[in-house]
């Protein structure tokens, strides 16, 4: 357990370092941006005096390092600044959307795992069969096609052809989850294809391992070998794959949210970029990064706890 604690401290340290690096890159990038927030907020016709007043109020007249420290200090206390466009506190803007993004992410992680694993088992047991070939080909095609193209195809089927779901998703309104269906399917398909491909490969490898042959020679049924010998071993690989998947999925989720105009962090990010709303971009980018890194640390920790082989070795992966 001491080994795990040591690992956990180190892993969380690296995660914190990652988020900090993102905050530095994002802050520097925003500093270099030629957009003047005062003009964005007050319009091009605004007087010089009004702009100076605005800059003073938003602390834009202070040196960059001071502003970085204030900003990062505020973020740590949950004060994310105010939007330049509508003057609303960013905290309120983000909170609702973070909720939507998290709902989409969690449902998708669960569904994609539940969908991909049984299929991977089926495919791994019958290599070369029609089912395996068509599943594998489907997974390759889904991974190759850009996420927004796939999401649009699902939008076409679900909202234009069978007209069961809204073309523009407003999130979850009054407990109506129908707007969630198409975005979830899109994210799930992409994620499931990824999990399927990795899980299939490692299951095929495992089924060819000597201990599987040994168990079969001892007369255990195929079913028993699969459930009692192979799958417990494979579960570790699977958690690992799900962890890897979480990062890729969040990138895809930014896109899927935009295709369906689902009101999550991804749409807020693109919207604030198009509006030149600098403080919102900064905050959303850093919070999204923190969200992803957190999911990843949790998944990595689960892998550690599940796998006795890694748990015992003190070193890295």
């Amino acid at each position: 357990m001491a080994g795990f604690l040591f690992w956990a401290v180190r892993r969380v340290g690296i995660a914190a370092l990652t988020v900090w690096l993102v905050s530095v890159v994002v802050f520097c990038a925003i500093q270099l941006n030629p957009t003047n927030p005062a003009i964005v907020a007050l319009g091009a016709q605004s007087s010089k005096k009004a702009r100076l007043l605005f800059e003073h109020r938003m602390h834009l007249d202070e040196p960059p390092l001071q502003r970085y420290l204030d900003w990062i200090g505020g973020m740590l206390h949950g004060d994310f600044g105010t939007s330049v466009i509508n003057g609303l506190p960013i905290h309120d803007l983000i909170f609702q959307r973070l909720h939507y993004t998290a709902v989409l992410a969690v449902i998708s992680i669960i569904c994609s795992t539940l969908l991909a694993l049984p299929l991977a088992v089926i495919a791994a047991r019958r290599v070369g069969s029609f089912a395996e070939v068509s599943l594998s080909t489907g997974a390759v095609a889904i991974s190759a096609v850009p996420d927004f193209v796939l999401a649009l195809a699902i939008l076409l089927i679900g909202a234009v052809l069978i007209r069961m779901f809204p073309v523009v998703s407003q999130g979850i309104v009054d407990g109506d989850y129908s707007a969630l269906v198409l975005p979830v399917i899109s994210v799930v398909l992409v994620a499931a294809a990824y999990v399927f491909r990795l899980a299939r490969v490692s299951l095929v490898e495992m089924l060819a391992a000597p201990y599987v042959r040994a168990a079969q020679l001892r007369g255990f049924s195929r079913r028993r070998v699969l459930w009692r010998h192979v799958l417990p071993n494979a579960s570790i690989v699977v958690v690992h794959v799900v962890a890897l998947n979480a990062i890729g999925m969040m990138g895809g989720q930014i896109i899927v949210e935009n295709v369906f105009t689902y009101p999550g962090l991804g749409t807020l990010l693109v919207q604030s970029i198009n509006n030149n709303d600098l403080p919102v971009i900064e905050a959303v980018a850093v919070i999204t990064a923190a969200f992803i890194v957190t999911i990843n640390v949790i998944a990595d920790g689960l892998v550690r706890l599940l796998d006795p082989r890694i748990r015992q070795s003190a070193g890295g992966r």
């Binding site: 990652t18 925003i30 190759a144 909202a159 930014i254 935009n258 980018a285």
Partner: protein, 282 residues
């Protein structure tokens, strides 16, 4: 590639994935290269009423400004192919340099380079590139360079791994014993022996970069109007999805065909390499 790899076309024609991929990519390449020459109208000319369905005069209909969709499609393929190729080339230059450095030098250099790649991989590239493109503007140069930078960590890992595996082979030890320097070893011993995996990786990354750059255009942060870039065409058509789904479907199919074709080719190269692996002691 020479003898060891066999003629590339023979390799690609070996399996069904390779065949379908080669046909798809060839068709798309012909379309992208010669499309502008055979397009019936200029891509930005307003030639008809808006949002017309397919007709004899406009085979794929017209868009929201009354421009011919077929002509725009035939003219808009270049950015979807050339920009990703340049981006992956940049990623490979970065990846090869740092990956070989890490694989050859080992020690602290290795730890620092792999550590940096690891950190970069834990953040979605899209997030960072969106911020960079926002700051430095959506010129082709910025798109290509920032995409290249954020695709490179994966290449660093692959190339480091390949270099590492090759470094422990007897022929590298022999070359070292002959007194050859690092540069000679890299160019004469290591690179020729990792061509296959690098080629497969290049094709895979190219698929990814095509998706990535067309996504940026779709989000309004890549190619700008009035360009008929396919990603941008999809984005332009999105508000009229219910009335005129063809506006979205046509360019989306173009992107999908290109991406799937290249991915299938990568698949075929990978399985060719897997078939031809010589069993080694390590």
């Amino acid at each position: 590639m020479g003898g060891r790899f066999g003629s590339p076309l023979v390799v690609l024609w070996h399996g069904s994935h390779g065949r379908v991929g080669t046909v798809l990519v060839t068709v798309m390449l012909l379309m992208i290269l010669f499309g502008p020459a055979v397009a019936p109208f200029p891509p930005n000319a307003i030639v008809s009423d808006i949002l017309q369905g397919p007709s004899r005069e406009h085979l794929l209909g017209t868009d929201v400004l009354g421009r011919d969709v077929l002509s725009r499609l035939l003219n808009g393929g270049r950015s979807i192919l050339i920009l990703p190729i340049l981006a992956v080339a940049i990623a490979f230059v970065i990846g090869t340099t740092l990956g070989l450095l890490a694989g050859l030098k080992g020690g602290l250099t290795d730890v620092m380079i792999t550590g940096a790649a690891e950190v970069a991989l834990s953040i979605p590239a899209l997030l960072m590139v969106l911020v960079l493109v926002f700051t430095f503007g959506h010129s082709d140069f910025v798109l290509v360079v920032s995409t290249g930078i954020f695709v490179s960590p994966r290449s660093i890992r692959i190339i480091r791994g390949a270099a590492h595996a090759v470094c422990s082979q007897d022929y590298v030890t022999a070359a070292r014993a002959r007194g050859e320097g690092d540069v000679a070893i890299v160019f004469r011993e290591i690179l020729p022996n990792v061509t296959g995996p690098l080629l497969a990786e290049f094709a895979l990354r190219l698929t990814y970069a095509i998706g990535f750059i067309s996504t940026l255009s779709f989000l309004g942060l890549g190619q700008q109007p009035p360009s008929s870039d396919w990603g941008l065409m999809v984005s332009d058509g999105r508000p009229y999805f219910t009335q005129a789904p063809l506006l979205v479907i046509v360019p989306a199919l173009g992107i999908a065909a290109l991406a799937i074709g290249i991915n299938l080719i990568a698949d075929e190269i990978t399985s060719h390499l897997a078939r031809n692996v010589q069993p080694t002691s390590n």
